[in-house]
Amino acid sequence: MSKLMPLEQAVSQFIQDGDCVYAAGFTHLIPFAVGHEIIRQRRRDLVLARATPDLIYEQMVAAGCARKIIFSYIGNPGVGSLRIVRSEIEAGRLEIEEYSHFGMISRLQAGATGLPFIPMNPTAALDLERANPRYRRVVDPYGGGEVVVLPPLNPDVAIVHVQRADRDGNAHIWGIIGEQKEAAFASRRVIITAEEIVDEDIIRADPNRTMIPGFLVSAVCHVPFCAHPSYTQGYYDRDNAFYLTWDQITESPEQTRAYLDEWVYGVDDRAQYWEKLGAECHDRLKVEPRLSKPINYGEY
């Protein structure tokens, strides 16, 4: 059953004001084009969950989409801080819910597997457990020690960018696979964006590569270059220069607004955005092929 639709329609139909959104991807495959479409459609009061809010949530926070963030690391990876997220928190204008990476991902794992809570070994660093009442403790019924536990995270919508998907939403992902699978299984609705929409035969030629089954998926959108300035393994490089530039842009609210006006509100969609980035950028992010060897499943 084809779920193929334009991204504009998917966002309008499946993301509502007040929703808890999980835009998946640890550094890799971050679905920036969806963030920008959410900004253009002026969603409000979103709860933005991601291990690393990264520039995608910083832009959504700057555009006024968010009421709260759920996270485990609010930095600009390899560069420094997320200035806007940081100042909004310091000003008390953005609600936070904070975990370590393992705590955050464990909540998704519990959500994905249908458990009411998930145990972790204690870490002896108690301040975050004290600061966030969702952290609790349970006695190990075998040894008498304790484990730290967290409840499931079940977002309203997961947004997952993939290398290739068929029209039903069955998706192949490779490279860093972060928490895409867990986010998809944990969430009530799933929006897939893909660099390529392929015939189901391509998916079925390598079923061990499929991370998300189509029956979970609400919408499949064909969005090449969706992840820029993040990257898609094998398709284009991470735009490290932009991550550095963003640090300068966010030095002033005016510059930030100007960026959003020009690059988000000022374009209709990702195709226009990519076009606008220009040939120099396209060249810089181009990737030479490095192919895996095919494997033999056998004709049975």
Partner: protein, 209 residues
């Protein structure tokens, strides 16, 4: 021979690594130290990145911990839940590197907040992987510039635990890792005494101990 403070820290960090160590690597200086160790005295060093990459052989210096150069040509890529549970929580990681805005004398680290948690003076990035690395890696090394404001009596927030209020407390807590084994700064190296206090044990050339 001339060298920068950062180069000296890198060399000193590399020397702490043993051949065959499985290291949970962060970007920046730890990444350089591991690559240096692997190309000198520790050819069987295995680098694991929290993004889920095992046995990376980067062709270029990665800006972020999830750079694609870490993936192409690596040995294994798995999910974040797996890297933190199968590798770190299971006890498969020998060495972790840590840093932070504040480090106290027992090697407890603050990377979360300066001031009050609910009304922060400065909001820092938070734990990321460090809360669990500090707890479960067999040995941890802390790398930091030696500035006075980074070494308060007590950190404002314990993002990751070192020896807590003394080595016995960490032992009693039952966490599996051995805690911080050294603090590497641009001035020298600090190591824990029997009570877990970090004591300056080596001064770099030209530093007045």
């Amino acid at each position: 021979m001339e060298y920068t403070a950062s180069e000296l820290m890198t060399v000193n960090a590399a020397r702490l690594l043993r051949d065959g160590d499985v290291v949970f690597v962060g970007v920046g200086l730890p990444n350089l130290a591991c690559n240096l160790a692997r190309r000198t005295h520790a050819p069987n060093l295995l680098m694991i990145y929290e993004a889920g990459v095992v046995g990376a052989r980067p062709n270029r210096l990665p800006l972020s911990i999830g750079d694609p150069t870490l993936v192409s040509g690596s040995t294994l890529v798995c999910s974040m839940y797996e890297i933190f549970s199968l590798y770190l929580q299971r006890g498969n990681v020998d060495v972790g590197f840590l840093g932070g805005a504040q480090i106290d004398r027992y090697g407890n680290i603050n990377a979360t907040v300066i001031g009050d948690y609910d009304q922060p003076k400065v909001r820092l990035p938070g734990s990321g992987g460090s809360m669990e690395i500090a707890a479960w890696a067999n040995r941890c090394y802390i790398i930091t510039p030696h500035q006075k404001r980074r070494f308060p009596q007590r950190v404002d927030f314990r993002t990751s635990g070192g020896f807590l209020d003394g080595k016995h407390q960490r032992l009693e807590s039952g966490v599996r890792g051995g805690g911080p084994q050294a603090v590497v700064t641009d001035l020298g190296i600090l190591e824990p005494d029997t009570s877990g206090k970090m004591i300056l044990t080596a001064c770099h050339p030209g530093v007045d101990g």
